[in-house]
């Protein structure tokens, strides 16, 4: 679901970035007023979790691949506003260091995965949970919320892809950016999510929700005990599992490089062929000179650590603000 650079027109990227700005502002404000410095590392762990889950790609019929996001789970565990900021940080690290998702299309990716997914997911989670107050109800709400959330995000991404050929064409009538119209992009992205990836997201959500509930219930209910070590253990396990993502050989829908798109269409759309291309430090989670699996583990460890460190350091700022508020 990571839209690469040059698949969306510059104007689309600008609109999506502008649409995301008030969401970021509102989330940052909410976090400043509601999250204490002790809770800040949780956002980092959440971001690291989402980063690792996104690395585990699942092969899809038709030769493409996809991944879960963990957005609804984060919204359930740390609240939708905090989830929005966590996933935004994750997407930024992915774009800057690993070339997963574009720099220009960062706003669009954030809109789909950091806004639509956690907020839709959380809305349905809350809606169901308020009506079914049993323990099973909580699980069902988390599963349903995550399934609906990721499908909403996929639909949103498909729409962004699909409007490109309608709006932007060269003088010869060829599409400039993403070549597929809505009639292709929506089924291509939504059907796999409805059938398979939604279930994968729901599985990750249910598994992590029950693990956290068992070992560190303080992360779900106020006052419960919190075992941060166990949660770090979960992250370490996910880092070691990340090479599973290599089993999915296909490229995700809408994330092809120039050569792939040429073999499919017979030409490279102008915007994609001549657009910007930034070289990431570890492109596609690989390290030159290392095997794919080793590169994946290194990338996973580095990315997750960076996110935990960023949010720990942000915790220092929150602490300073709290002191100012006391004065």
């Amino acid at each position: 679901m990571h839209i690469p650079d040059n698949y969306l027109s510059l104007s689309t990227c600008a609109v999506m970035g502008a649409a995301m700005a008030p969401v970021w502002a509102a989330s940052a404000k909410k976090i400043k007023s509601e999250i204490t410095k002790e809770e800040m590392p949780r956002l980092g762990i959440g971001a690291a979790f989402s980063f690792l889950v996104m690395m585990i790609n699942v092969p899809l019929p038709g030769g493409t691949s996809g991944h879960a996001v963990g957005g609804a789970l984060l919204a359930v565990l740390i609240g939708p506003y905090a989830a929005c900021i966590s996933i935004t940080a994750t997407l930024l690290i992915q774009a800057l260091f690993f070339g997963d998702g574009g720099i220009l299309s960062f706003g669009a990716n954030a809109f789909n995965m950091a806004f639509i997914l956690p907020f839709t997911g959380y809305f349905f989670y809350k809606f169901i949970k308020d009506r079914a107050k049993t323990e099973k109800g909580g699980y069902f709400a988390a599963i349903a919320g995550s399934y609906i959330g990721i499908n909403a995000a996929a639909l949103r991404a498909a729409t962004e892809f699909g409007v490109q050929p309608l709006l932007f064409r060269s003088a010869r009538g060829r599409p400039l950016y993403c070549p597929y119209p809505l009639s292709v992009s929506i089924p291509a992205m939504v059907i796999p999510h409805l059938l398979l990836l939604g279930a994968v997201e729901a599985f990750f959500t249910a598994a992590a929700y029950s693990y956290v509930k068992k070992v560190s219930p303080g992360m779900i209910y106020a006052g419960g005990k919190q075992k941060i070590k166990a949660v770090y253990g979960l992250l370490a396990a996910l880092i070691l599992l990340s090479p599973l993502g290599l089993l999915a050989a296909g490229t995700a829908w809408g994330e092809w490089d120039g050569a792939e798109i040429k073999s499919m269409l017979g030409y490279i759309p102008e915007g994609i062929g001549k657009g910007i291309s930034l070289k990431a430090m570890m492109p596609d989670y690989s390290v030159p000179g290392l095997s794919g699996a080793a590169g994946y583990i290194l990338s996973a460890a580095a990315g997750a650590s960076i996110l935990v460190i960023i949010f720990k350091l942000l915790g220092l700022i929150v602490k300073k603000n709290a002191v100012k508020a006391d004065d």
């Binding site: 580095a302 460190i309 720990k312």
Partner: protein, 260 residues
């Protein structure tokens, strides 16, 4: 009764001291307090992995980082250090990263004409300073001394290092006391304040000589012959095994990647 009190005592006092600038005293006091504070926080460490192992691995890592010519190894070392860093406290992370960013920025500026080399060197400097920072903030000084002794570093060297570290702390406290005294006594405009600075430095120097003599006598009285002895056995827990395994992997990957 009224005759007993002299007139000057009955007169109302009207003395407003002239304003004076003492920014340099404040600055000196602040920098000394920083050293003392730094020494105090640096001593809160000692968690998890045993210090001998940590010291040895850090030294090996520093050598490997500077010797390495492969980008993959540098990235691997970076990922490893980030993992270790992410487990530390926020305040520690901040002070370590502040040091490493400053050092690597400085390197980058110095080596700017050779852009290709400078970027890699700056990253290497960043990693080395981070590795050293992690060791300094997660190990107590006295256990680093123990570790150095186990690695057959000459006792004379350990003695100098140990004493120097301790006395930086004690003498800074002494010097900051002198600065406070200078500020308290400078009522109104004190023109001779700058010349007192050399007095502060001189007193601290004399005091350090005196303290050194006192310490030598005290240690001789307690039977210290200039030879360090380590009590207690090496302990080795689960954390140590994980730490050693991670470092061994790094060393092996260095050998593998440099051969390719």
């Amino acid at each position: 009764m009224t005759d007993v009190m002299p007139d000057w005592l009955k007169a109302e006092e009207n003395y407003t001291p002239q304003s004076d600038k003492d920014a340099f005293i404040d600055k000196s006091i602040m920098s000394l307090i920083k050293i003392i504070g730094g020494a105090r926080t640096a001593n809160t460490g000692e968690r998890g992995v045993n210090t001998e192992l940590k010291t040895a691995c850090t030294f090996i890592l520093l050598v490997l980082i500077s010797a390495s010519g492969s980008t993959a190894f540098i990235l691997a070392a970076g990922a490893y250090l980030l993992c270790v860093l992410s487990l530390m406290r926020a305040q520690e992370i901040l002070s370590i990263l502040r040091g490493s960013f400053t050092a690597s920025l400085f390197t980058l500026i110095l080596l700017l004409p050779a852009l290709n080399v400078s970027f890699m060197t700056a990253i290497k400097v960043f990693l080395s300073v981070t590795a050293a920072g992690i060791l300094a903030r997660s190990a107590k000084w006295h256990s680093v001394t123990v570790a150095l002794h186990r690695f057959f570093i000459p006792d004379m060297f350990i003695f100098i290092l140990d004493t120097a570290l301790r006395y930086i702390f004690i003498l800074s406290e002494y010097a900051s006391g002198l600065f406070y005294a200078l500020r308290l006594r400078s009522v109104g405009r004190n023109k001779g304040k700058y010349s007192s600075l050399s007095g502060v430095a001189g007193t601290v120097f004399l005091k350090s000589g005196e303290m050194a003599d006192e310490m030598r006598s005290a240690m001789e009285c307690r039977g210290f012959t200039g030879e360090y002895r380590v009590y207690g056995k090496l302990r080795f827990g689960a954390a140590d095994v994980i730490y050693a395994a991670a470092n061994l992997t790094l060393i092996l990957s260095f050998i593998y990647l440099e051969r390719v």
